[in-house]
Amino acid sequence: MIATAPPIVSVRDLSVLLGGRRGFLRKPVPPVAAVKEVSLDLREGEILALVGESGCGKTTLGRTILGLQRESAGEIQFDGAAVSGLRPDAARAARRDIQYVHQDAGAALDPWWSIGRTLAEGLVIRGVRNAAERRDRVAEMLAAVGLDPASARRYPHEFSGGQLRRVALARILLLRPRVLILDEPTSGLDMSVQATVLNLLLELRERFGLTYLFISHDLSVVARLSDRVAIMYLGRIVETGATKALFDRPAHPYTRILMAAAPRLAGRQAAEALPVRGDPPSPTAAPPGCAFLDRCPIGEPGCARRVPQLIAVGSEHRVACHLASRAANDWASYGVFAGQTAPVGAARHG
C-alpha cells in the first residue's frame, strides 16, 4: 500500500555547493559539492532512511530539503508543488510542513528559556494568540511524547539526553508538520534509552500521520525502523531500495562493507574476512569516476572513467556501480551473506 502512495517530497537532480568565497584581499576558497545530482522520493507515511558516514552529505541533503540550505541546482517538490529556487525566507515558508529535529537536541534549545516557553514559542510564531490555548497544547504535547506536563517549567540542562529528544520532538510536533527530518535521533544515547526513543518515533508516526526522513549511520537501527533505505557516499546516492530487499541482497560494495563493519552481537567471525581500506574521503578532494574506487574491494581501473548511474537491479532496488551485475554473482567471496543482518520487518511496526 505504501509503495503506491504518491510522493509527498520529491527531489530531482539536486546539487548543493557549500562554502566557497571570493573576497577582496583574501585567498579564494572554491566551494565544495556536498550533494551531487541526488534524486529521491519520500512517500506519504513512510520512513526513508538516509545512511552514510560522516561527510557523505546526508545532513546537507536534509537541510536543503528543509530549506535552511539553498540548493545550487535541481528541483524539490512538496505535495506536487515546486518549492525550490526560492529566496531563503520564502523557501522556508513554503516548506513549513517539513520540520527538522537536530542531532544534538540539548544544544538546539535556548538555555535561558524554560521548556514550556520554548515550546509555546512555536505556537506564537504560528499565530496562536491565546495564552491559555498555548499552555494547553504544550501540556498535551508533552504528555504525548511521554513527559510530565509539569516539566514545562524546567530548563534544558535539567533534562537527560533521552528526555531532551522528547522535548525536541514535542517542540516540532506542536507545529503540526507532515514530514520530519530526523538527524541521527539516537546517536549518543545509551542502548536502553535509544530503544524507547525509537519506539516513541513509531508511535508518533501513527498518531500524527507523519512521514520520516531518517538520517543515520547506524545500520542496525535503520534495518529495524525504516521502510526504504538510501545509501549515500560522497554526495551521491549509491544504492536505494526497500529495506528488506536491500539488506537481503546488498548490491553495492560499499553497502556490503557498511553492513559487515557494523559490530554484531553474533561476534567477529564473518566480518574479519572483509577488506575495508582507507578512511571515509573528504568531499573537498573527490576522485573522478566512481568515488568509491580507491576503497572498493572489487574496483577496476575502468571504474574511474565515468560516474556510475543508478540502475535497477530489482523492483525498486537500484544501485550505482559499474560492476553491480557481476558483483551480485560472487557474493560469497566477500564474506557477506544474505540474512546476516538483523531480521527485518517483524518488529518494525511493533
Binding site: 552481537l265 578512511d279 571515509p280
Partner: protein, 325 residues
C-alpha cells in the same frame, strides 16, 4: 599466576556541591595477561571514574574509600604521584582516549607531542641525548608503520588537523604503545569514529594484543563491540560490577537481569523497542539493597532490603543477584 590487573571492591566518592556522591560502590574486575576485558556500562555508571582510579588521576574532591587496585602484584593506590609518573603511567600502563582530537594539542607537531611523552616515560636503554631521541623516533616510525598510518616517516612532522579521525586514533594507539606497556586502557576509543573506521581500529587492536603481548582494558557502552573484540566482559551498573565472565558465556546466557535487559535493547536482539524503564539511581542517593531493583522486572521484596551477594551463575559468570544466591 596472579592476574595482570585486579580491582578489588573499589569504592570511590566525590564531593560535589550537592553532597557526597558514591560514584564507585564496590567495583571489582580481573584482567588476565594477554586478554581483552570489555567493561560495559551506560552513561553515569562510573566507567570513567574507574579508569581514573586505576590510573591515579581522580579529579579534585574524589577519594578512595575502600578497595585495592592490584597491578602486577602491586597496589597502585598507595603509590605517590611521582612513583606513578615514573614507574607506571605510559611506561607500564598505556592509555587510548575517547576523542583523539581532544587528546592532541593542535598547535604542536604530532612528533613533538609523542616524543615528549617518550622522553619522560620510555625505559632506559643506556642511551642519552641525541642517540636516545633517534631511537625513540625510530620506534615511533616503526609503530606508525605498523598502525598503517600513511607516510609514517613524515607523519611526525605534521600537525593533528592534517590527519583524519581514524588516523589520529592510530597515532594515539601508537603513542600508547610507545613505551612498551604491558597494560593498555582504552576509553571508548571508537565512539567518535565512523563504522568502517571503527571496524578497522578494532581489528588492529585485536592484532596488537597478540603481537605486543598486551592486555587490554576496553571500556565501551556497545555490546556489539564487546562481542567482536573482547575475551572477557564486566558489566557495571550504578557503580557496581553486576556481572563478569567470558564474553561468549555472558552473551549466550546473561545471568543478571540488567545484562539481560541491556542485551534486549540491542537492535540485533530486540523483538521490539522497549528499553529499560526508569533511570539509574543518583550517586547522591543510592537506594538500599540491589541498585537495579527499582527497574528490574524480576525484583522481589528481599531485593530492596539487603545488597545481593556475589554468586556464580550456571554460565560460569560472577553475578550480583539474589536469584543465584
Amino acid at each position: 599466576m596472579i592476574p595482570l590487573l585486579k580491582v578489588d571492591s573499589l569504592k570511590v566518592s566525590i564531593r560535589t556541591d550537592d553532597g557526597t556522591a558514591r560514584v564507585l560502590d564496590d567495583v571489582g574486575l580481573t584482567l588476565e595477561r594477554g586478554r581483552i576485558l570489555g567493561v560495559v556500562g551506560e552513561s553515569g555508571c562510573g566507567k570513567s571514574t574507574l579508569i581514573r582510579a586505576i590510573m591515579g588521576i581522580l579529579p579534585k574532591g574524589a577519594s578512595v574509600d575502600a578497595g585495592h587496585v592490584w597491578f602486577e602484584g602491586e597496589n597502585l593506590l598507595v603509590f605517590s604521584e611521582a612513583e606513578l609518573n615514573g614507574r607506571i603511567r605510559s611506561s607500564r600502563i598505556g592509555f587510548i582516549p575517547q576523542d583523539p582530537l581532544l587528546a592532541l594539542n593542535p598547535v604542536f607537531k604530532v612528533g613533538t607531542q609523542l616524543l615528549e611523552a617518550m622522553r619522560w616515560h620510555a625505559p632506559d636503554d643506556g642511551t642519552r641525548g641525541r642517540e636516545r631521541r633517534r631511537r625513540h623516533v625510530e620506534r615511533l616510525v616503526g609503530l606508525l608503520r605498523r598502525m598503517q598510518v600513511p607516510d609514517p616517516e613524515t607523519a611526525l612532522e605534521r600537525y593533528p588537523h592534517q590527519f583524519s579521525g581514524g588516523q589520529r586514533q592510530r597515532l594515539l594507539i601508537a603513542a600508547s604503545l610507545a613505551c612498551a606497556p604491558t597494560l593498555v586502557i582504552a576509553d571508548e576509543p571508537t565512539t567518535a569514529l565512523d563504522v568502517t573506521t571503527q571496524h578497522q581500529i578494532l581489528l588492529l587492536l585485536r592484532e596488537l594484543v597478540g603481537e605486543f603481548g598486551l592486555s587490554l582494558l576496553f571500556v565501551t557502552h556497545d555490546f556489539g563491540v564487546v562481542a567482536e573484540l573482547c575475551d572477557d566482559l564486566c558489566v557495571i551498573y550504578a557503580g557496581q560490577t553486576v556481572e563478569a565472565g567470558p564474553v561468549q558465556a555472558v552473551l549466550q546466557a546473561p545471568a543478571h537481569p540488567y545484562t539481560r535487559a541491556l542485551l534486549a535493547c540491542h537492535p540485533d536482539r530486540a523483538a521490539s523497542f522497549v528499553g529499560i524503564p526508569g533511570r539509574v539511581p543518583s550517586p547522591l542517593a543510592r537506594p538500599a539493597g540491589c541498585q537495579f531493583a527499582a527497574r528490574c522486572g524480576e525484583a522481589e521484596p528481599r531485593c530492596r532490603e539487603a545488597s545481593p551477594p556475589q554468586a556464580r551463575a550456571r554460565s560460569g559468570a560472577d553475578v550480583r543477584c539474589v536469584q543465584y544466591a
